[in-house]
Symmetry: D2
Subunit: 403 residues, 4 copies
């Protein structure tokens, strides 16, 4: 059968190679190139022409940045989801959206297959394919990196040169990177040995290291409504503007740099350096507000839920009943997470500078040293006596059993 | 019956008031003052004389600092236990040890009661009394703050003056503080309104704020054996020295300052600022090593265990079967947490500067971009197909159910 | 101030004693008796007159049985909430509803206090009072059993006789019981020693022991829609009818008898025998359907959620943000829990007799021995290789470390 | 290279086919047949001769039944591990032991590969291979069912007939079964459609259905020491005898039959009927004792641990750091799980008939209706006031926020 293939296309080296490869390996196939813009920070002008010039019969460019922040990033912020205590899931959170758009277009176009350029060792192949299976279970998935002979960037360049195709890069890129509106990741080179200190001067692109940040602190105010950020420094702001501005102020102050040896889904450890300047601020601010607005039990249980949420997001299990049920839990907890948080940004530090909420459960009368109406010191004795009763019973039992 | 009372004694204002108060309220009672030194940083010279001068029949001073670090702090470090994502449990972790020593002495001395100076609003009363119930279930517990008329520091001073007793403090202390070898906490004053930014210049005692830290970074090397720190900068070191030195270097670099609105056990929120310079470094270093040495599943589950461990420690439930079972779990995971971690300390930041372990599960051959012997790209397809099978089956079922 | 007291009233011995006691102890107080009918199975005719005859200024009788099943029991069924692996929460689940109704009336009537007849050793005082605090935080709570001198049923009778008040019971009741549309509990007498076998012939009231059940099995069909039972044996049925009929058929077949030593909230163990014939069937049937309709991950995580849900329900923490968030999670999982379950009831056994659902994730093609289109045996190898990669890496590392 | 293959051998149809198949597909390979006896209930006499007759160069028969119960089953009993609320892990728990023995022999014999006869759709391939990877990471694994053309039992028989090899079965076996000292499982035939009621008369082999069980109940006494069963009906008993006798008495009374649609590791649902007569009794008895001996918090947390333990066991992740850490947790909780349990077995029911322990935390004085020394009713008020304080604060905050 003649294949009609939807290709995840960026205009970069990998996907440029894939077009001729598909042409050579799937006879008479038709290729529809789709570029899903989640804020990669690359020019999309001319991309349609470029794809078509390479042999695609059609090309789509979709700007999904707002949807990305609203429907993917914000649910994650509400959850405070952090993978393995460090990683803010910057690549993970974008993949389901990209894959869903690919599946949507494939179904609309009556395609027979979806092709992506993720490697056979990484998490992204899983994230892409799980979402494709969820929305287009009958489509074939083509993952050239798992099957072709190409093993490296050099092989790719050679492949193009051998076919007289222009190589879409002027200088050698060093690290393997992924960027979107939420973050930028770096892998490879010196990072491949965990013993090495990362070379931040070389690596960083969204911001500077703490050492290079200004000597003067910057204060910012963030306002949330039901767990969603709605104002920055007192002004209403769109999701895209918010991320842009937080990335700028965070990056400038050396915020959100993370160096991590993590466990991939495919069973290996890998190491990356992540820049998430705006995201780190947003998580911090959101959590500050939760300290005021969530009760002890909810706080405690939500931490466990957040762990699971992060694991599912990391593994590409976004469009699953469990992730949706976790989100329902989280949304329920956010009803009163409304208020204002003030933060001081200084050379890599985020420092709490006061927060307030109309739904704050902090009660100054109760918390202060002296006794007010709401709290009787005498109650504490009864509380402790019952809270400690199991320990007392056990101690008496032990005395008795040892007699 | 004539009471024989073991009193938790520090020589400070609170416990100085309690001695005459006990004498007045428990007719002919005998008082045994016990000062348990967990690194409060106060002079204990002359304390025996002082207590006896006040009316105690006997006084003990116990230096338990090493036991404190070895048997209480290290198990917590191995767990990575953090309460409500921020608090390193500095006060919590010392209480069970102090209370156990009080109970030991009370049993040895044939005492009838144990008296402590914790207030009726805090967590410490619970932590003290739970441990006392566990070791001396038949003893009475006396908690003057829950029963007397004294409501404030001023009342205490007045109480002493009215009895011509010397007031044991020269200037007015501002914040309510607790200190030991692991940390220093601050409560009260401007902190009582969460809207206020803390006045670090005023507050901090173990170190400086990031702004006042040196412009030059400091590197340190920490070495662990089965989760326990054994060397600092290449030299073997005792637990007490380690904490002392990490507190100094951490404090100097503005590390480990935390501002938190937390949920107390007694049902209220309270706010504190915590300085844990050495502890913060130790936690960070230990976790860096775990990233190398623990597999994905253990890493994930240990986070959940750590939450519970932190909650039990916070609530004073240290000497419980559950905390002991959690520790058994944790110890089992630490078998291979052995290796070296290099950290860069700079103005409040702890920055990973490389780590290594003979038990590292990071395998450069597998992790690198190109394919080695251990990993076949082709396996990934099978993996994803089965991992994603439930999603595919569900999608097909849904298609079918919607027909 | 003259108190206006809303009293939880049943017409039984306890609450009959409370009316004169309140009159004697709260000068000129006004009493509003409220009987909330959750299916206690007692006659409520004449109860208003009786309460007023005793001195209440007003009396309410509220039939909330349908609300009880729909808004309290069904959410619990959807959760599969079981306390300590055995207890179906029969008493626990009714308390929040009763207390909410008391609070509603108290607020409507402008009452100053709410009085209940729960003892100072049990869970019910907690369940009542937590809900009252949640809805009427400013009202006083009066719990006579915690303050009066009465210690036993005999004391109560004497108290009434001394006042020439008719004692509202003809024969001595043996066990302490609680009944509603969902269950019947028994405590006391021989049950107070866990070593004793319960005397079922004496105890049971909702059904018979397995030995006395018929020799012929009974089959029933239950149909659920989104986790809610909607049909019994093919016929649509109201919640009240459903419980009535399931209790009858379950009781007759010796189903749902449970003998348990449980951990109360107040820190002690207690033992009870519970009859939940209809509830046991409902739980079983609901879970059978979930086996078909929920995926592996959701199934697994929902078990953990169910444990927490059960604990909160047991502790009276129904009207809390956490319980509500758990319910949001659970409701999200029930979207596809729709279908039919056939059960065989026989002498205490519930035996699965087949189930089906339009949303079943069981796929006969995949599950059968031979290979179909959806599943390739070859995929399994790749799956296992990656799933087992961490183990292999670890084994190689160990070989290496031991060299 | 000439392969030297260790083959998991049972003498049944599957493994009989594999020997000639290996000979044909691995030129000049040497085959070492290993039969690991975990209580399959089949004759092992003559098995060595049979294997050698088929072409194996060597054959081992290992009776590991006691090790199976002691080192695998008992840790699972202590955990109360149940997969998906129903399955007592009968097949799962035996696989790691079998695979470990295969790996041990392979290493001892200097083999190059291990071969097993598990199919490509099931869990067993995973369980075998994960353990092999853990102990013999350098060995090849051969799984013929994933690669050969044989698709059914009929194909196997044909394969043997075509080679003039005797077919090792006299009559057609209907269900696919797995048996060991702990259980017997059934899959296939009518069970492949979850809508069908299982035909117990046909299926059951270890016992009878409840309907066919005796009309008279049987009482048994089980005694545990630190969570391990040590006596049956007052007599010390070996692990093998215990399982044998419990299987007999349980089977005779219709105990431990389970019909389940479960989620396999490979991403599909499958249905099985399990007979675990002795195991069901052992789990029940053990848990009865835990109700007496474990405190509330440990009970609660251990349920969560048990879920994870069951999932790991089910997935073949027995020899993993996480399973070992969970076992360390569990062992710690079993210190006081010592005592006696009396059970009544009657037509499928296990009915508690009283239990006792020197470490019982049930305290009759505290639990009884009237007040004793250890418990003050007045304490309850303080307890509830603090336990309910967050709810009260929240209610007041809400009143305020809504003003």
């Amino acid at each position: 059968m003649k294949e009609k293939i939807v290709l995840a296309y960026s205009g970069g080296l990998d996907t440029t190679v894939i077009i001729p490869w598909l042409k050579e390996n799937y006879e008479e196939c038709e290729i529809i190139a789709v570029c899903v813009d989640v804020g990669q920070g690359k020019e999309t002008d001319g991309l349609v022409e470029k794809a078509e010039g390479m042999g695609a019969s059609k090309a789509y460019i979709l700007d999904v940045r707002e949807e990305f922040i609203t429907d993917y990033v914000y649910p994650m912020v509400k959850a405070n989801a952090v993978y393995e205590s460090k990683y803010l899931l910057g690549t993970s959170i974008a993949r389901p959206l990209i894959a869903k758009k690919l599946a949507d277009i494939a179904l609309k176009e009556g395609a027979t297959a979806i092709c992506h350029g993720a490697t056979g060792k990484g998490n992204d192949q899983i994230r892409f394919e799980l979402t494709i299976k969820a929305f287009a279970p009958n489509l074939k998935i083509i993952a050239p990196w798992r099957t072709w002979d190409i093993q490296s960037r050099e092989d790719e360049i050679e492949y193009l040169l051998a076919r007289n195709i222009e190589v879409p890069m002027t200088k050698e890129q060093s690290y393997s990177r992924d960027r979107n509106l939420w973050h930028l990741s770096h892998e490879g080179l010196e990072l491949e040995d965990p013993k090495n200190e990362p070379n931040f001067n070389h690596l960083l692109q969204l911001g500077v290291s703490p050492e290079k940040a200004p000597d003067m602190a910057t204060y910012i105010d963030l306002e949330f409504k039901k767990g969603i950020p709605v104002k920055l420094n007192g002004k209403a702001i769109t999701p895209i503007e918010l991320m842009d501005q937080l990335n700028i102020v965070g990056g400038a102050n050396g915020i959100g740099i993370c160096d991590l040896v993590e466990n991939r889904v495919v069973g290996m450890k890998s190491r990356g350096v992540y820049e998430t300047p705006g995201g780190t601020i947003l998580y911090y601010a959101h959590r500050e507000l939760e300290y005021l607005c969530l009760d002890k039990q909810t706080t405690s249980y939500k931490e466990i839920i957040a762990n699971k949420f992060a694991e599912l997001t990391y593994s590409g299990e976004w469009f699953t009943p469990l992730r949706e049920a976790l989100s329902a839990f989280i949304d329920s907890t956010q009803e009163t997470v409304t208020g204002k948080v003030r933060l001081k940004l200084y050379k890599g530090n985020i420092i709490s500078a006061g927060s307030e909420s109309p739904y704050s459960l902090y009660n100054e009368d109760i918390a202060s040293f002296t006794t007010g109406e709401l709290y009787s010191h005498a109650d504490a004795e009864g509380f402790i006596n019952l809270f400690g009763l199991p320990l007392k019973v056990r101690a008496l039992m032990t005395e008795n059993a040892n007699k």
